[in-house]
């Protein structure tokens, strides 16, 4: 095995390990810089991934101090194992948006257009964004005939940026993060499926109070400002 300095040093309290949903990548990276600036000598280690992967890893012993999930379901898995330090708190919301390749080749303008003859890419119902997709489709009483049901937002986005799919349903924040590689189209029905992001410290984390300070930062004005700049809604 290699050197284990990375996780070994977490014992000295100068490292804060944050497990966060992949959609939080850019915002948490920015917040980590502020946090490190405010806490001399503290090193914030961010680990991004699918919320279910992350919670699985924490349950199996990963050294996380904070867990920020993209849905309540995976946070519930953490609490079901009684691994939370403080009870989870919601810190952001996210809503769906239609993503189309630049130039919108299929001419999509509304949710109803997605029922037409085009290559639609959505998340599978088994994953959070897919569940949300189902909700809005039911609310709009349309039947979607997707070309592909992906396992993550990233995969949906990938199909759109590459032009393989004509339209997809992803989160607002994803469209913003993707820059000009996709175009976003808002639709009113998105309000029917608001996704809530909870955050919690992890029991027996090595970082002590730092973990709670991170949660406070995210919930505080600075955190909320960064999040809303990335497209997240308030909790």
């Amino acid at each position: 095995g290699g050197d284990d300095d990375g996780d070994g040093s977490s014992g000295d309290g100068t490292t804060l390990t944050v497990y966060a949903a992949a959609s939080l990548t850019s915002t948490f990276e920015e917040l980590a810089e502020r946090f490190e600036a405010d806490h001399e000598g503290v090193d914030v280690v961010l680990e991004f991934g699918g919320s279910s992967d992350l919670v699985e890893q924490i349950i199996n012993g990963a050294d996380a101090d904070v867990f920020a999930s993209a849905d309540t379901k995976n946070m519930d898995k953490l609490t079901a194992e009684d691994l939370q330090g403080q009870d989870p708190q919601d810190f952001a919301t996210n809503t769906l948006e239609i993503a189309v390749p630049p130039g919108n080749p299929a001419g999509v303008t509304s949710l109803q257009d997605l029922a037409g003859d085009l290559d639609l890419v959505i998340c599978a119902p088994e994953v959070p964004c897919g569940a949300a997709t189902q909700t809005v489709a039911e609310a709009a009483s349309i039947t979607l005939d997707p070309a592909s049901e992906e396992q993550s937002v990233t995969d949906v986005l990938g199909k759109i940026t590459s032009g393989q799919g004509d339209a997809g349903l992803v989160y607002v924040t994803d469209v913003i993060a993707a820059g000009d590689t996709v175009e976003g189209i808002e639709f009113p029905e998105s309000a029917d499926a608001v996704n809530t992001y909870p955050i919690a410290t992890v029991k027996d984390g090595d970082a002590g109070d730092l973990a709670q300070e991170w949660v406070d930062l995210v919930l505080g004005p600075d955190g909320q400002q960064v999040l809303s700049a990335a497209g997240f809604g308030a909790p």
Partner: protein, 248 residues
């Protein structure tokens, strides 16, 4: 001793996997409609992929093993690359090539339209990642078999095609079979390139590994049960082929 350690290192995790299964639900889980359709799709596409690998890979292995030309070493490395490339990147490469906006997909629109989100795309992804296995395995067998018998055959007046069909290939059959089995097995387990290039739609592109991956979020028991199905299928294929051919 190290053999035991090595074996345990592989076998114990598999046992741990088995230990996780809720046997009471097992049958229900693996016979659900989506599971069966994923299994069927996986078997079908893997079989086709293995076949395509044989059709395309045999000539490639022959060229690599039996001819010499400048740049051959480079070509060999290139052909083997999909083995080391993370499958997701392989899927990206396919997307850039055969996707709607890809090199070929854009030029020949029909190709792009036809391939996207189709079972064909699944097969292409599987072939891309599996081909090197067949080529390596067969090229090795061809090198080992050597050219001695081919030279004998040729000097007995056999035309190259006769030599190929009656001497080269029969002698390389063990390598060919084990290569085909490896290719089939690799296709069966293929995930990254498929999800990236072909997407995931039940009955069309959602193979068993994709189904497993998907179920993982929702129903880990189902995921594990399906993994076991995959394991059993693979063991059967490998075992049966070995038995029948003594190869691999």
């Amino acid at each position: 001793m190290p053999a035991v350690v090595g074996t345990l290192f592989v076998v114990v995790p598999l046992a741990a996997l088995v230990a996780q299964v809720e046997w009471s639900d097992f049958w229900g889980l693996i016979t659900s409609e989506s599971s069966l359709s994923a299994l069927a799709l996986s078997l079908r596409t893997s079989a086709v992929s293995a076949l395509v690998c044989v059709l395309l890979g045999v000539p490639m292995a022959l060229v690599l093993a039996r001819t010499r030309f400048p740049g051959q070493a480079v070509l060999r490395s290139l052909v083997l690359l999909p083995m080391v490339l993370p499958p997701v990147v392989g899927g990206l490469a396919l997307l850039y090539t055969f996707g709607k906006r890809g090199l070929i997909g854009e030029t020949f629109e029909v190709v792009g339209e036809e391939v996207a989100f189709s079972t064909l795309a699944v097969v292409m992804a599987q072939v891309f990642v599996s081909m090197p296995f067949l080529v390596v395995s067969l090229e090795g067998a061809l090198r080992v078999a050597g050219e001695r018998y081919e030279v004998v055959a040729a000097s007995l007046g056999a035309r190259p095609t006769t030599v190929l069909l009656r001497v080269t290939l029969p002698l390389a059959v063990p390598g060919l079979i084990s290569g085909a089995v490896l290719a089939f097995a690799r296709s069966l387990g293929e995930f990254g390139a498929t999800i990236t290039f072909a997407g995931s739609r039940e009955g069309v592109t959602r193979t068993l590994p994709l189904e497993i991956y998907l179920q993982r979020f929702d129903d880990p028991d189902a995921a594990i049960a399906l993994s076991l199905v995959l394991v059993v299928v693979a063991v059967l294929v490998i075992g049966l082929t070995r038995q029948r051919s003594g190869a691999l």
